[in-house]
């Protein structure tokens, strides 16, 4: 089985966000970048589990500049067999999807996995777009994945519940929590990652349909109003009369 896992390079979850150039650019100074948690913890690890159980190959693909290579190497250290970096700008979901679909179209992948969303752009877009560009079925927010006889059985989140679907390969899915447990790369993995293939592909012409004109930080809250623990009923009164939420 040939699996392709799409990984995105994102600021660590604890990053304090700030902007430069008149609030038009994310300030990367001092920021630690990691594999997007949904891509790493769920998509990649489940892909590796399937490969270990059934044989096959796991390739990771990333659209981005050379600065993403440490993140890609981490994916190799966790256990991916090889990696592809498409040297393009990752700032429009459609352009990213066009690059990935363009690369994958004639490679015969049985399964293409993306994360539910990136924790920087929070789009939830790229996976579905890759599926559409490749005319493949897409299952979003997968929480369980089994594969037998070329058919995937997937449990995924839907509005107000979950659904179990079956789908013949090939297909594209986006991975949500539940698919697998996070893995920490061990020393052997880290050593092996140094020599695993990481190929660079130049970007094809892609259509950039959106761009970010400016950023602003979300407004913080003003002072917290404390209510004495001995009179919690006061809270209910304030929620009604002052906050007007109940």
């Amino acid at each position: 089985m040939k699996i392709l896992v799409c990984i995105s390079n994102v600021p660590d979850t604890t990053t304090k966000i700030s902007f430069t150039n008149d609030n038009t650019t994310f300030n990367t100074a001092g920021v630690q970048f990691v594999i997007n948690p949904f891509d790493e913890w769920y998509a990649l690890v489940r892909a590796l589990e399937l490969k270990e159980a059934q044989g096959g190959n796991v390739t990771i693909i990333h659209v981005g500049g050379v600065e993403s290579e440490p993140t890609i190497r981490k994916g190799l250290a966790i256990g991916a067999d090889d990696a592809v970096r498409i040297d393009g700008e990752p700032n429009d979901a459609f352009a990213v999807a066009e690059q990935i679909a363009g690369y994958a179209k004639d490679k015969g992948f049985d399964l293409i996995m993306a994360g539910k969303e990136t924790i920087n752009y929070n789009g939830s877009l790229v996976g579905a777009m890759v599926a559409e560009l490749m005319s493949l079925p897409f299952v979003s927010m997968a929480t369980k994945l089994e594969i037998a006889n070329n058919v995937a059985t997937i449990e995924h989140d839907i509005d107000g519940g979950t659904e179990v679907v079956e789908c013949a390969l090939p297909l594209v899915l986006s991975a949500n929590k539940g698919m697998a447990e996070a893995r920490i790369p061990n020393m052997r993995g880290i050593m092996a990652a140094r020599t695993k293939p990481l190929i660079q592909v130049s970007a094809a012409n892609a259509d950039k349909l959106t761009s970010i004109a400016a950023y602003e930080l979300t407004k913080g809250r003003t002072d917290c109003k404390y209510i004495d623990a001995s009179t919690p009923e006061k809270l209910i009164e304030l929620l009604h009369t002052e906050a007007k939420v109940i």
Binding site: A128, D159, T162, T210, A214, Y215, L235, I236, L239
Partner: protein
């Protein structure tokens, strides 16, 4: 060239997030001197769509749409858009929206802003729209350059407004002969009794401070008397104290209810990322230094095991006097 809005039915009624999207689409229509057309699959009382601002409702007809299959729905919407001459399409950024809107965007080469939190600013053919980025830590203003545009609206960004309007309902037979989706639905497990967390206006959430899953009875009771949904922090879901779909935060779901009550949750940055869009935040924590108090509107420093039962009583009394 009316504005199209994809809408859905839940339990025989138009979904609240769909009404929000129709309101949103009709505001854009008013700015552009055109009309708002809602698109729907299935049968229900559709009058709320007119009240929310649609002047026309297109009912999609094709058996292949019964399970809301993404490939079929995107193709169906492409046909409606072409039939209506629509170049601006609105979704709700909910589960189906996340599945279909990007598919349709790729089909139409439409620039998409997913999870918009504000009305677009329109200047000629250029739309600029705000959306949350960095998991709610910041807001970005996106420009959509393409002629065709898709915006999916983050649920609970605007209150629903209904007026006296009515909409003409027309059937639209979709041709899906070319699509044979290999996805077969085997089983649907709806979370029945509980409120749907992403749509909930009131949420009671608890964390590791509750110490044991057996102690969740009072959390559920408080949620029940308030009419709120329940949520939890990540370690609580990881330890299987609570189901995964209750996990809120950067790696869970992001919610923005009118009221979020956090009980025994420290307020880690990854947790805040999923809830800081809430209108009012209440924090109950025994540690007065807990970071969550810095992001709270109301705080109670004290032992949840003493405070929550008192709150339940207070809510009951409040409800009885209403």
């Amino acid at each position: 060239m009316s504005i199209l809005i994809y809408t859905e039915i839940n339990k025989g009624k138009i979904k609240k997030s769909s009404l929000e999207a129709v309101n949103y689409g009709s505001r854009i229509a008013a700015q552009l001197n055109t009309t708002a057309t809602a698109v729907i699959v299935g049968d229900a009382d559709l009058s709320d769509l007119g009240k929310a601002g649609a002047t026309k409702v297109v009912k999609l007809k094709n058996d292949k749409l019964a399970n809301l299959d993404g490939q079929c729905l995107a193709a169906a919407l492409e046909q409606v858009a072409s039939n209506e001459g629509a170049s601006i399409i609105i979704f709700s950024h909910d589960f189906t929206g996340k599945e279909i809107a990007p598919r349709l965007a790729a089909k139409l080469k439409a620039g998409i802003v997913a999870g918009a939190v504000d009305n677009p600013v329109i200047s000629g053919d250029l739309f600029t729209v705000k959306k949350n980025v960095f998991s709610g830590k910041a807001i970005a203003t996106y420009s959509i350059h393409s002629a065709k545009k898709i915006i999916s609206l983050l649920p609970n960004s605007f209150p629903v407004e209904l007026n006296q309007g009515t909409a003409e309902v027309v059937d639209f037979a979709v041709n899906l002969d070319a699509i044979n989706s290999p996805i077969k639905v085997k089983e649907v497990k709806k979370v029945t009794s509980e409120l749907n967390l992403p749509d909930a206006e009131l949420v009671v959430s608890a964390g590791r401070g509750m110490k044991d899953p057996a102690n969740w009875g009072m959390i559920e009771e408080l949620a029940k008397v308030l009419g709120a949904a329940t949520a939890c922090s990540r370690p609580v879901a990881d330890m299987h104290w609570r189901p995964h779909h209750e996990h809120v935060g950067q790696t869970g779901i992001a919610i923005r209810p009118n009221l979020y009550i956090a009980i025994g949750i420290s307020g880690a940055i990854q947790h805040l990322a999923g809830v800081n869009g809430s209108k009012t935040i209440v924090v109950i924590n025994s540690d007065k230094e807990a970071p969550f108090f810095k992001s709270a509107d109301y705080g109670i420093v004290g032992d949840a095991f003493e405070i929550v039962p008192k709150l339940i009583e207070a809510v009951k009394k409040f409800k009885a006097n209403q």
